[in-house]
């Protein structure tokens, strides 16, 4: 029997800026999994995901995406991945539909597939009334939704999101969570960083906690509870991160 390929397999990933940002990190995410990466500010979450998405070149280590070596063959890996950052960077002078048309074009998706998908995505995110308006007047939440729709329009197998719920109101956040949940149920893999522990607690199949560039804990919520003896994720997070920060400081 052919072994199941990991959606993401990271080994010894290292990145140094002024200081060590990611320290020989190992991480494995299975296909169809919703994986939440938690950590304090500056822990190395975004740097890790930016390296996985091909936005940053690691100093050392390997990144495998569904069996593709993402460092040796970045275009093949990018073809099945999508990246959404916490700062939604879209084009002010394009409408949401024009933006999605551009993204679909960059991923070389047939318009017969991408156009209905774009309409459906924008509709499900509540952007239907704004399809033909330029994004320059959009709020941060609306821009985030357009960016998310852009990430989904080419139907990626792996979606990487860096703080996707920042700036969204409760209704929009629920829309986004629903959309991501649907994608995971359809077999897509989602890796997401978040500071909202409740989201990780409710949505993630597995949770990884990163501090000072290293993975300090990983598992399902139940496994983490068992390992650390805390009932709430918040207590667990503070205990893990606090201990790690003290060790790093020492």
């Amino acid at each position: 029997m052919k072994p199941v390929e990991s959606a993401l397999q990271v080994r010894g990933l290292t990145k140094r800026f002024d200081r060590l940002a990611v320290d020989a990190l190992d991480l494995t995410v299975q296909p169809g999994e919703f994986y939440a990466l938690l950590g304090p500010n500056g822990a190395g979450k975004s740097t890790t995901l930016r390296m996985v998405a091909g936005l940053l070149r690691p100093d050392a280590g390997t990144v495998g995406v569904f069996g593709i070596d993402a460092l040796a063959n970045p275009l093949a890996a990018k073809r099945i991945m999508a990246w959404v950052s916490d700062e939604p960077m879209i084009y002010d002078k394009l409408t949401p539909l024009e933006y999605l048309e551009f993204v679909a074009g960059l991923w070389a998706i047939d318009p017969a597939i991408s156009e209905p998908a774009a309409h459906e995505l924008l509709f499900s995110l509540g952007l239907q009334p704004h399809l033909y308006e330029r994004c320059e007047g959009f709020s941060k939440g609306m821009r985030q939704k357009v960016a998310l729709a852009g990430a989904l329009v080419h139907d990626p197998r792996l979606i990487i999101l860096d703080e996707p719920l920042t700036g969204l109101d409760a209704v929009s956040a629920r829309h986004v969570k629903g959309l991501l949940g649907d994608r995971v149920r359809a077999g897509c893999t989602v890796i997401m960083t978040t500071h909202i522990l409740e989201v990780a607690e409710r949505m993630a199949d597995r949770i990884g906690v990163i501090a000072a560039g290293r993975l300090v804990a990983e598992g399902t919520l139940a496994e983490l509870r068992q390992q650390n003896g805390h009932h709430s994720l918040e207590d667990m997070f503070i205990a893990l991160v606090g201990a790690e920060t003290e060790t790093a400081a020492a």
Partner: protein, 508 residues
């Protein structure tokens, strides 16, 4: 804190903001460069005395009473300075309207808004006046050194120019707000600023071409026809010129006039300024810019990227105003070209450097917008398109846009002179390619909205771009008049480009 103290405190705050903004532009936002920037400004001001001497050194000995021709030339020069300051002031006013992020704080404070905004208007006027003084100092210095202390009165005229330009700019911008709304005012104000800045010079050039077949503006100003139409020497029209020459009464009157004008604008508009500023900040980009519904288009990844770049360029307000300005500058050579069909003249050769220079400058701006000004850098980088193909596509967009803009003029030139059309076309291609290459070597990741600061993010790139455009323009002109000279300027320009590449960050 009483109200006077509060206003003085707010004035200090405004001036500090203006100073820091200027400093950020001069130092490209890098701390620790303050001293270097200040030294650079002083050195630049000192060097500027040389061209200032070359331009107006010979006028230093002028004394009252002046003849009509001298009065016309001097008044026109003062009007030109005023028009340029007005253009700059409109740009400053719109920036203050749209870019300041402190409105919530100000509006929620217990300060009287009319007073607070009066201070803001004065601060705009002072910034514009300070800039006018900075730019005019080398010229006035040359006149003082060559013609005596009486020329110090010219500083008073410069102050009047700055204050009155700021007053008119504020009134004009508020009027635009009322007439066309905040979303369109930004673009229209930029276009108005460009037209005002360039319009006067261009109108004089067109008059010179039509009447005398030359591009020289002085030909019109010092002509008998202009003297015949000019008012009597006692007319108020000449008071700014007489004031600059040291006559006290006109000097006091125009300075007082500028102050009264600013006071009037402040009295009338300060109470409304809050409303305008709030509408500008909250409504700077309302959703009234709609695009028609149409089906998604098929095509390659590069076609998708090209389409996106062209749409963004077409919708870029900076590009619209800059293109308009470039087109305005091309009007005089176009008129000359049209005139040369009837009356063959050697002056037509002058078209080539103007066109080549314009192409180089415009290509530099376009290249920055497409290569460095990528608003969704993460998206494009995470797309399955290799960086080299992406850059190639963006370069294609710049060169196609330049081709589309300049092809009609070169096509028209074909009918006047085939060799000149070929030389001009080559010049346009080489100048545009050089400017694009420089932008590529010095590319940085930035937002399109940061375009204003592009020239300070790398001064080396800015100077290289300017020298390259000037060099290729000179090469084009010399290729038609003195081919051996073209070889020399061409080699020098190529050497400048090679040196620029050698020290560029992308080479490392």
């Amino acid at each position: 804190m009483n109200s006077t103290t509060a206003l003085a405190w707010f004035a200090r705050h405004e001036l500090r903001l203006a100073w820091r903004e200027w400093l950020a532009i001069m130092t490209a936002g890098r701390r620790g460069r303050k001293r270097a920037a200040l030294i650079a400004v002083i050195v630049f001001a000192a060097i500027m005395h040389l061209p200032a001497y070359a331009v107006i050194g010979r006028f230093a000995t002028l004394e009252l009473p002046l003849d009509r021709s001298a009065l016309i030339v001097m008044t026109a020069a003062i009007f030109l300075a005023w028009a340029l300051m007005l253009s700059q002031a409109i740009e400053s006013v719109t920036r203050v309207f749209y870019a300041r992020a402190d409105l919530d704080l100000i509006m929620s404070s217990p300060a009287r808004l009319a007073d607070v905004f009066s201070v803001r208007l004065v601060s705009i006027a002072l910034s514009v006046t300070a800039m006018a003084l900075l730019l005019s100092t080398p010229f006035v210095d040359v006149l003082v050194i060559g013609g005596g202390l009486r020329w110090l009165a010219a500083y008073g005229v410069v102050v009047a120019i700055g204050l009155s330009a700021a007053a008119i700019a504020i009134a004009l911008t508020v009027l635009l707000f009322r007439l066309i709304g905040p979303s369109r005012t930004r673009l229209v104000a930029q276009i108005v600023a460009a037209v005002i800045g360039a319009g006067f010079v261009i109108a004089l050039q067109i008059a010179a071409i039509m009447s005398y077949g030359t591009l020289s503006r002085f030909t019109v100003l010092s002509s008998d026809a202009a003297a015949a139409f000019a008012p009597e020497p006692a007319s108020l029209v000449w008071w700014p010129a007489r004031a600059a020459l040291g006559e006290i009464e006109p000097l006091l009157v125009i300075m007082a006039g500028a102050l009264v004008l600013l006071g009037l604008v402040m009295t009338i508009l300060s109470p409304r300024f809050a409303d305008v500023a709030v509408r500008a900040s909250t409504n700077a980009a309302p959703n009234d810019q709609r695009s028609p519904a149409r089906a998604f288009r098929a095509g390659s990844q590069r076609q998708a990227l090209r389409r996106k770049e062209f749409v963004l360029l077409r919708r870029d307000p900076w590009l619209v105003s800059q293109s308009l300005m470039q087109l305005l500058y091309l009007v005089p050579p176009a008129v000359m070209l049209w005139r040369s069909f009837a009356d063959s003249t050697l002056a037509i050769v002058l078209i080539t450097p103007v066109v080549v220079m314009a192409a180089g400058q415009l290509a530099g701006g376009l290249a920055w917008l497409t290569i460095s000004g990528e608003d969704a850098a993460d998206l494009v980088t995470s797309a399955p398109l290799s960086p080299s193909r992406m850059i190639r596509t963006k370069i294609e967009v710049v060169l196609i846009a330049i081709g589309l803009m300049f092809a009609p003029l070169i096509f028209a030139l074909l009918f006047a002179s085939l060799p000149q059309a070929v030389v001009t076309a080559l010049g346009v291609i080489v100048a545009a390619a050089s400017a694009t290459a420089i932008q590529l070597w010095f590319r940085v990741q930035a937002r399109r909205s940061q375009f204003r600061r592009r020239q300070t993010s790398s001064r080396l790139a800015t100077f290289a771009e300017a020298f390259s455009s000037i060099g290729w323009a000179a090469t084009g002109a010399l290729a038609l008049a003195l081919p051996i000279g073209a070889l020399i300027t061409g080699l020098i320009t190529a050497a400048i480009l090679a040196a620029t590449w050698k020290i560029s960050p992308q080479r490392e």
